[in-house]
Amino acid sequence: MSRLESRGVPSGPIPACAGIGLRAIHHDAIVKDRPSVGWIEAHTENYFHEGGAAARALERARADYPLSLHGVGLGLGSVDGIDREHLARVKRAIARFEPVLVSEHACWGHAGGEFFNDLLPLPYTDEAVEFLAHQVGIAQDVLGTRLLIENVSAYVAFEHSRLHEWEFLAAVAAISGCGLLLDVNNVYVSSRNLGLDARAFIEGLPLDSVGEIHLAGHSCNGGVLIDDHGSHVCEEVWQLYACAIARFGALPTLIEWDTNVPALATLVAESNRADQVLGELRGLAA
């Protein structure tokens, strides 16, 4: 039994309902108001430090909600390799907060000692499949947990890519044993920016590979969609989401809102809409 389980804290699998991303401005409100959301997700790197208000707030919130830790800094696909110090910090965060899901991205982020602190796209080649699967395997071994790996938003595509993104992700999952985190907004943003077919992406992923879904808003700048997580989920993404859960079944679904962060009530209302879509799916299945 884990430390949290022994205190009656939620520790089972994340329920197939909507959750919200935990952001610093909501730390107090979420502990005080305990909004009706199924679970919370936190960016792992924001809770690396031993002390401080953020770590304390997450410990308090963790007592009330199942937790997913979502990393944005490992850059698993970087050919220079995994920053072992960073990985060790993720491991300490897992030991401390006992998340029931842990995720990262199918991207790279550093080269030649410089970190770009962004989710950079990979070329979809056999070499990149092998490399990323190997790195995910290393991370899973060190962390002692299965990872969910998320598709990223893309603004460019490598001319060397030989695979569809969904083929790439499916192969990485098959080799490494990781699951996939399907970010529906990212699928939409990339498909619009690169002239791809978003529905084909969702149809192409293996049925049993997806363990979590992300929904978020984006903006448009000069005709390019920017994945800024700064607004409501758009109608097209809601429609794609309905397609996704029709294919993969009801899955834990996160509302991500990281910039222009609204009042907690707005975030909760957005998560209620995801729950409504999930409820309609269950109604159809009944």
């Binding site: 790197e45 401080g52 982020g109 602190n117 603004y155 460019v156």
Partner: protein, 250 residues
């Protein structure tokens, strides 16, 4: 067929230099990644150095951030650390100018960042001293709160920090004396506090691991100041443990 290493190297080069070749399409969208990297870096600096930014204004802060990034690119996937060398950069960059004090302000703000995420340990009261004989007191070494940071500057840096908690604060008179003080985590906020030089000297010696007697001598405390200084570290909750210094070998 280019290797993954070659493709990432060309992408990274194109992020650093827009004229560098990179086999992606649409090529013009590389600017989005270039901007993201710069903005993420700058935003992390802005959140770590709010008073410095307020003092110099947005435009000059952007310039400083860009020049700093050129010299000290991010070395971690955790953006919290990008400000680590900012004060040292400013010290070199502004050496000999009338803005040299900005480096000390940056040091103070970086200490604030570190204090905000430092572990807080349970503090102990002065009654712990009763466990020791009067002769043993001068050999005691104190473990202080991990969040404690001490600063001395040739500039009125604590006054500048305090005055600039609001926008458009009037400039602090730079001809004022230098200042010293502490930064530490309180229960729910980071305290930035100017200290009397004697108290600062005593606290610095204790923090460096000097035994109590040596710290008192270093600070040149008289009897009244000693009572105040000894009481200060306990009443402020700065002491986590007290132990006798290991006797010096004969």
């Amino acid at each position: 067929m280019a290797s993954l290493r070659e493709l990432q190297a060309s992408f990274a080069a194109a992020l650093r230099d827009e004229s560098s070749a990179c086999a992606v399409r649409p090529r013009e969208n590389l600017s989005i990644y270039r901007n993201n990297a710069a903005i993420n870096f700058r935003s992390a600096l802005e959140s770590g150095f709010p008073v410095l930014r307020r003092r110099v204004g947005d435009d000059y802060f952007r310039q400083l951030a860009a020049q700093y990034r050129q010299r000290n690119p991010s070395r971690s996937g955790d953006l919290h650390w990008v400000g680590r060398d900012f004060a040292a950069f400013l010290a070199e960059h502004l050496q000999g100018t009338e803005y040299a004090w900005l480096a000390d302000l940056a040091r103070l703000e970086w200490s604030r960042e570190l204090a905000a995420v430092a572990m807080t340990r349970a503090s102990i009261g002065a009654e712990v001293l009763a466990r020791f004989t009067p002769e043993q007191l001068e050999d005691l070494v104190f473990s202080l709160q991990p969040s404690l940071r001490l600063h001395a500057s040739d500039f009125p840096i604590f006054s500048i920090w305090a005055a600039n908690q609001i926008d458009n604060a009037p400039p602090v008179d730079q001809s004022l004396m230098g200042e010293c003080g502490l930064v530490r985590m309180r229960s729910d906020y980071v305290e930035v506090r100017r200290l009397d030089p004697f108290l600062f000297s005593y606290l610095s010696a204790l923090a460096a691991g000097a035994p109590l007697g040596e710290a008192i001598n270093t600070a040149g405390l008289d009897q009244d100041a000693l009572v105040h200084a000894l009481g200060f570290v306990f009443t402020e909750g700065l002491v986590c443990a007290v132990a006798r210094a290991r006797p010096a070998p004969h």
